[in-house]
Symmetry: C2
């Protein structure tokens, strides 16, 4: 697989010459998420988004544990055969990931890039496997509507009205197992994101805040790899929602890259009909669920052969917003082929 | 430098055959921290821990920006020459790291392992440089007493009494620049931590919570590398404090590894006299400051030639503690030589 003349890195893109592969995935999602088209691809559909736990946070943690365990089992591996777990989530101090990791006797490297955590985790896991440090790695993340609402916005009990530019945090989690060998989806390269801040301060308008970071990474990726948007079967952004997706397409078009034909946003397609969710889904679980269920399945079916997956994260906190800061955003991307 | 027969990884330890090096560091710390012995090694001693900012959080972010910039300048590099920044901190959604990264036009990979963030960042940065993905990487973290108190415990204005088993979050930050070439401290290998939870629920007794995770990683390191504690000039733990350090020594001794002669804890040595601080310093900034100032300088002076650095992190949040959870902990270690 190695090409001697291909560099390890160009610009912000790392090339994985040894073709680490995603050999299995696992997903779980709540009832609302599973009522849509994506839902039919989800491995474990929940009847109740409490998942048998006493708190939303414990339910979120259990979803993560479930998909980490699921990805390992779906690869027909034992836990002892997994060399490292990369995971993070939206809760303060990434407690869902840390507490999930407690259930597994696997080295754990905690990461955080908000809703870009899925692609950051895949990028780092692929880098470790490609370098020969590890034979197998799991990348996982998730989110929960109710735990996110009470941490970032208002307690649900308050019944606060949502503005039309808002999105709905996905209740769900996804994991994938990356291996040096076996059949699966090849991780060809990864483009590291930079923090981009266009000065958006409206915490209900994440799509507008994140779109410039996504455009920055996509354009950098096209330049570093010498590819064109049309070469991809799918250019998948994380959770820009309907409004953010339109901004992304405009920003790319302005720079000479027309992604409009190939672009799909996880947040736009996860819900059946967008009503309460306004602009669509968001949260680390949004792209984790859509990528690891629908997109991975369609790649295995050879319906999509070449995919660029750029999850997008807003790196704000309630404290930073309270102190008048704008919203810095980031997007990490991985190129996948089968 | 390569040895063909040496594996890339054994157990939980990754061996860096191409010897990535720490070629420069930078540190900043508050007045209280700089009054002790370590303070004389700190690059920038603050007169005022507000650092000219309007909030504690902004001061923390500015400290991080300062040391990232400092490490780059001390290596006589330009920002454009740095391939990636690994950083995280204790604040919710690692806002200090994310907002600091906004000031630099450098790819940013956010990490989180609480007070083990310094060694996790060095481990990942060394892995990227060693694999040839990057020529240079910066690893950075920090903490601030006042922002940590109001996030994790009580507002300072409340004047809450501190229990005797507590520690004092260090106001300070540290960064190091890891390069494939140049003179510096070699990063020989890194041992990835696992989440260890002995069931401690007292959020004021972090030393007792973290000591088992540190012991687990140290013992794993000795086994993976075939080294003995006596081979090291220094076995440096992150922020166990006085009580935690005694527990660490006992736990290692019980497993047949006597670290007592070589062990030093960053939290135990950072303050001049331990009074208000009770068990000593803590926080991500604790080991970041001690390692990147005192330890790095002494290594460059050849006073320490072989150091095992295992920063330690408690992966709790106020929500997890409030929901009755115990404190899962982790410790990542890197072996350094000159």
């Amino acid at each position: 697989m190695s090409s001697v003349n291909q560099p390890e890195k160009k610009g912000r893109t790392i090339f994985f010459k040894n073709s680490p592969k995603i050999i299995s995935t696992s997903t779980v999602a709540g009832p609302k998420e599973c009522s849509g088209i994506i839902g039919s691809y989800v491995e474990k559909a929940l009847d109740d988004d409490m998942f048998g736990e006493s708190t939303f946070e414990k339910a979120e943690c259990k979803m993560l544990s479930t998909v980490i365990d699921g990805a390992i089992k779906n690869a027909a591996l034992e836990r002892e055969q997994v060399d490292v777990l990369f995971s993070g989530d939206l809760l303060n101090q990434i407690i869902s990931a840390s507490f999930a990791a407690r259930d597994f006797n696997i080295p754990f490297l905690g990461v955080y890039s908000a809703c870009s955590t899925m692609s950051e985790s895949i990028l780092l896991a692929a880098a470790m496997v490609n370098a020969g440090y590890c034979k197998t790695a799991v990348a996982a993340t998730g989110s929960h509507f109710a735990s996110a609402e009470r941490q970032y916005r208002y307690p649900l009990e308050q019944g606060t009205t949502r503005p039309p530019q808002s999105q709905w945090t996905v209740t769900g989690a996804g994991a994938c197992l990356i291996s040096e060998s076996g059949d699966g989806v090849k991780i060809v390269n990864g483009t590291m994101g930079k923090v981009v801040d266009f000065g958006v301060t409206d915490v209900n308008n994440m799509g507008a805040a994140m779109a410039p970071a996504c455009a920055d990474t996509l354009i950098q990726h096209f330049k570093d790899t010498g590819t064109e948007p049309d070469e991809y079967d799918l250019i998948l952004s994380g959770d820009l929602g309907a409004l953010g997706s339109r901004i992304l397409k405009d920003l790319c078009w302005e720079k000479g890259f027309d992604v409009s034909e190939k672009h799909v946003d996880c947040g736009e397609i996860i819900y059946k009909v967008i009503e309460d969710e306004f602009q669509g889904g968001s949260g680390a679980g949004c792209s984790a669920v859509v990528f690891n269920s629908y997109v991975f399945t369609r790649m295995k079916q050879l319906k999509f052969r070449k995919v660029l997956f750029a999850a997008t994260g807003a790196l704000l906190s309630t404290v930073s917003s309270g102190q008048g800061e704008s919203i810095p955003c980031i997007s990490h991307a991985v190129q996948l082929e089968i």
